[in-house]
Subunit: 431 residues, 2 copies
Amino acid sequence: MVRLDSSDPNFATAFAHLLTVKREIAEDVDEAVRAIIADVVARGDAALVDFTRRFDRLGTDFSAEHLRVTDAEIAAAVAACPQESLEALRLAAERIESFHRAQRPTDHRATDALGVTAGWRWTALESVGLYVPGGTASYPSSVLMNALPARVAGVPRLVMVVPTPDGQINPLVLAAAQLAGVHEVYRVGGAQAVAALAYGTATIAPVAKVVGPGNAWVAAAKRRVFGQVGIDMIAGPSEVLILADGHANPDWVAADLLAQAEHDVAAQAILITDSADLADAVEVAVERALTTLPRQEIARASWRDYGAVIRVRTFDEAVPLVDRLAPEHLEIETQDAEALAAKVRNAGAIFLGSHTPEAIGDYVGGPNHVLPTARSARFSSGLGVLDFMKRTTILACTPESLRALGPAAINLGRSEGLEGHARSVAIRLNL
Amino acid sequence: MVRLDSSDPNFATAFAHLLTVKREIAEDVDEAVRAIIADVVARGDAALVDFTRRFDRLGTDFSAEHLRVTDAEIAAAVAACPQESLEALRLAAERIESFHRAQRPTDHRATDALGVTAGWRWTALESVGLYVPGGTASYPSSVLMNALPARVAGVPRLVMVVPTPDGQINPLVLAAAQLAGVHEVYRVGGAQAVAALAYGTATIAPVAKVVGPGNAWVAAAKRRVFGQVGIDMIAGPSEVLILADGHANPDWVAADLLAQAEHDVAAQAILITDSADLADAVEVAVERALTTLPRQEIARASWRDYGAVIRVRTFDEAVPLVDRLAPEHLEIETQDAEALAAKVRNAGAIFLGSHTPEAIGDYVGGPNHVLPTARSARFSSGLGVLDFMKRTTILACTPESLRALGPAAINLGRSEGLEGHARSVAIRLNL
C-alpha cells in the first residue's frame, strides 16, 4: 500500500506511477485460442464435445445431445436454491430491470424546411450470447446484469453458455438465467464456447454479439471473433476509489476498500481524503478487518500491492486526480457529495453518501455492475440497454429537396474525385 | 457479377456464398506497426519526425516544430479553396450539425418508493483524435462527419492528424477542420500518428479516443492502442444494397450501384428486385454508364467481382436476405418503401424513395456517413454523438433504503462467497 500526500514535492511523479502500474499479467493464450476457434469452425459440435470432455473433465459419455441444459434441469436447479436467495435474486432482477427500462432510447424523425426527412430508429440485436464463467467466479448477479438489459432492449434470442467443471454448476446461476428470461443455456465454456456463439454449430445457432466476463482464454477468444460478431468490453480487475472527508466512518470506509480488494489480488482500492486523521484511522481499520475476512489472503495482497491512501489539501485538488484515475467505482463520502460528484468527468459509476456502499450497486441498487475498468471510463460506459440495440439512420428526399441539396452534393463529390457520386445525384436532376 | 434468383433450387447455397465472400486482403503489417508504436512511446517527437520524413518523403529540414499546422497555414489553405466548394462544405456542416444535435442524450434520475435515488449522467470525452488519410482518400466530408458529432457532444479538445505526402494536403480538408471546430491539426499519419494520439509526445498531448478511417497500418495501430484509448469501428470496404421494383428508373439504379463501386475494387453493390425486366435493364445501364465513368477501372472490378443482382418473387422474401446481408447502405426504391423499411432489422442507414440517392447522404443529408460495414450492422450503429460521450451511473441510498435493500445484498454477497461485500453493507446496519 502506498501513502501519498499532494503537498509532497514529488507527488506528481508518485501519482503518475500509480496510474501506470500494470495490474494484470497478460497470459499468452492467443495461439491456443486461435487453434480452438479454428477447430470449432471446422468440426462444430464434435470439437465442442472434445474440448468440454477435456477441459471440464466430463466423461466420454458426454456428447452433443448433452450440450443443452434442459428446462427440467433448470427447474430442478431452481428447486434446489435456498428460498431466501431466490427472493433476493428476484428483488435484484426487478430493480435492475426497472432501472434499465428508463434507458430505452427513442426514435427520431423530422422534416426540415427544404422537405428533407431525416432521423433514426433503434432496433434490438437479433440474438445475443452471454458468457458466464464456471467455478467460484460463477456469479448469479452477473447473469442478471448482462441478461436483463438485453431483455429490456427486446433481444428475441438470448443464449447463455456456462462451463460445468466436473459437472458442477451453481444452481443460482440457472435460477438467474430463468429469472432474466434467457432462452437457451449450454454447458460449454472457454474459447470453444465463444467460437460456437460466433460461428455456430449444429446445436448452437450463431449470435450477433457476445457479452460477459471470462478468463484470459475467453477474453482472447472475444478479441478474435470481434467483427464476426460484436463483443462488449474486455473487463480488467475491479477498482474502487473512495473520496471521504473527516466525517466519514473509518470502519465503513475500510469495509468498502476490502469489499473491492477481496475480488482479486489484482483489484485496486484507493482512498483520497483531506483528513490525515481519517487516513490513519482507515489504515488501522483495514488491518483489523482483514484478520476476520474469509478471503483475507486475496484482499491483503491486493491492498498491499495496489492499495493507496492519498491525502489532498482540498477536494478540488482531488477532482483532476479522479479524472485521471477514471475509476470503475467512485464512492463519495463527503459533506458535499453531490457538488463534488458534479465536478468529476471520468467514472464508471458514482455512489453518493455514506449509506451507499458499492456492494449495494453490485446486487440490488438497479444500475449495472458491468463497468469500465483500467481507466477506460475516460472513453466508455457501463453496460446498458444501448449495448443490445443499434441505430439505423433514415433519410428521405422529395424531388424538390433533392433539387435544393443536389448541387452542393455534386460539387463535393467532384471535389473528392468521386464523379460517380456526383452523377447519381445529377442524373435525377437532369444536370 | 452474379445473378441469383430466389426461385432457383440452389439459391440458399449461392446466397450463403455471397455472405461469406472475403472482400478484403488482410495486409499483415502488425509486427511493423508494433515496432512503430514502441518507437513513438520510447522516443516521442523524434520518432514522429523520423517516420514522417521517411514515409511522407519530407526533407531533413522537417523537424518537430513543423508537426503542428499553424492557424496561418489553415487560413491560407481556406483562402485557396474554390468559393463554391466552401459554400457546399458550409451547407453540409450546418445540416450534419443540426441532425446530430438531436442525438444529444438526456440525463436521468429518479427516487423510488424505498428512497433509493438512481440514474445516470452523460459527459463528453475529455479529448478526441481524428485520423484523416492523406492523398486521394483525404475526404473533407469525412472530416465533417467525424468531427461534428464530437463537437456537438461537447468534447473540449479535438485533435486532427493528417499525413502530407510530399508536403501536399487537400486545402478543403483544412477548411473542413476549421468549419468543424478542430482545435489542433498535426501533419503526421500512419501508425505513428495513432501512437502519438494514444500515448502522447512532447508536441501532441494524448487523447481519450481515436476515430477516423485509414489504411491497413492505421487499422492495425488502432487495434493495438485499443484499451489505452477508445477507438471507433474498423471500417471495411463500402457497400450498398438497393431494393427496387419495376417502377424504378434503371439508369438511376445503375448510377447508385456505380457510386458505390467506384469507391474501391473491394466495394460491393447489390440489387434486389422483384422485376426481371428491371434486373435486365439495370445490367445494361451499368455497362453503359461504366464507359464514361472516370474511375471505371475500379468500379468495373468491384461490380465484376462482388456485384450481384438478385431476383425475388416478393419483397417479403427479400427482408430476411437484407437482414443477413446487414448492408452499410440500404436504398429502397419501391412503391411501399416506408412499409418495407419498417420490416428490416439490420442496416446502417436507409435511403427512402427514388429521390434519395445514397450520395446525398455522403455529403449533405445530415445523418452520418460513417457506418457499419462487413455485416456489422447486425450489432453496431453508425457514428454519432454517443460515440463521444460516456454515461456515469449514480446511486444514492438513504439510511432507510439501505436498511430495506441491505439484507438481500448481504444474502447475495454471501451466496457468491464474497463476505467482504456482505460486511460492507452489514456494518452500516449493525448486522
